[in-house]
Symmetry: C2
Subunit: 210 residues, 2 copies
């Protein structure tokens, strides 16, 4: 069992994770998940529409990100706004207590195409929410889309490092580090006549101005 103390949907998710690891996603039923969690099938369906949904967060991550984007300092640049939001996510959701569960969950997801598909669509919907929140701050839509797209990449890099068992750093600092790397990579020039992707080196700002 995960060490973090979960509520009913959290207990269902922890039970599902145990069972998916033990016997595989395909060979686990909703009834078995509910039983393992000490709950009923109807309780399961009060929280989740189907078995595939049990390992997915019910809007918390989106809410924290959207709120983090809205409350970032007014002077913050597009990517710094995203970094503030990822910091908030690290403080409230991707906490140290959750790390082990998150790593196990990701391994189960990676092993199953049905779960990977659902995760892929969730990510698209999440990116859309970030774009909307950035746009509401007054950023032009296209700038919001670029920032959200790069922010998603920053997130992926930080997340992979965060769930790595050899790593003990918090999610927020890992996201800041990944952001700096993405900025530097975007600035890299390849050939003499090539356009580069990102800002010039001397304009890279890795620290939030807020």
């Amino acid at each position: 069992m995960a060490r973090w103390q979960p509520d009913a949907p959290g207990r269902l998710a922890a039970a599902a994770l145990d069972l998916f690891e033990e016997r595989g996603y395909e060979n686990t039923t909703v009834i078995e998940i509910a039983e393992r969690a000490g709950l009923t099938k109807s309780t399961f369906f009060r929280y989740f529409p189907d078995k595939r949904e049990v390992l997915f967060d019910r809007g918390t991550v989106t809410g924290v990100l959207v709120e983090g984007i809205a409350s970032a300092p007014p002077t913050a640049g597009p990517l710094d706004v995203v970094a503030e939001a990822l910091d908030a996510l690290g403080r409230t959701f991707f906490t140290a207590e959750r790390r082990e569960y998150s790593g196990r969950r990701q391994a189960v997801l990676n092993a199953n195409t049905e779960l990977r598909e659902r995760e892929a669509l969730k990510r698209i919907d999440l990116t859309a929410s970030m774009i909307e929140a950035l746009n509401r701050r007054g950023l032009p839509l296209l700038t919001a889309r670029v920032a959200a797209q790069l922010g998603t990449l920053v997130w992926e890099i930080a997340y992979d490092r965060w769930i790595d068992t050899g790593n003990s750093e918090d999610f927020g600092p890992l996201a800041r580090q990944a952001l700096a790397e993405v900025r530097a990579a975007g600035a890299l020039r390849q050939g003499p006549s090539s356009g580069h992707i990102g800002p010039d080196d001397d304009s890279i700002q890795t620290d939030s101005p807020g």
Copy 2:
């Protein structure tokens, strides 16, 4: 029926699209799709593992992109390499004859969560192939990831415009235009203390150097 002349999998896709439009994805069976195409159920399963797969290309898009990335001029910058690949896609796959089918297909996909999920995962796998191909050109992995991430955004913007019935421009030029806009958006500064996302305006190169 679509105007372009399809082979067996193409006929199955066209028949499926007609049926999904007429009666909905959920209410259409594989047998009905095969019958509408004048083929058998076993022929269907020779080409597609399940009903969900029938509207998805079997690797052609990935192949064209990977080949386009590999054969771009050696001096091309990361995003120009992606633009070359999108140009190649416009010449060979997203052709004028295919535009109407693509627009109808996208509308069916957008209306169904199962299909959206599969599309989302295909996109992730496609981005992974682009990253690999960029990396093989000698680009550092992180630069390849940034270029592929922004290239995906360029593609999305160009594709939405291309399937728009009010538009008659070819996919390649639309991709070039979208790339220029993404570059300009990335360069936009928001506040006095903010880092910007992309290159400075005077360093933006919208034309391929090759």
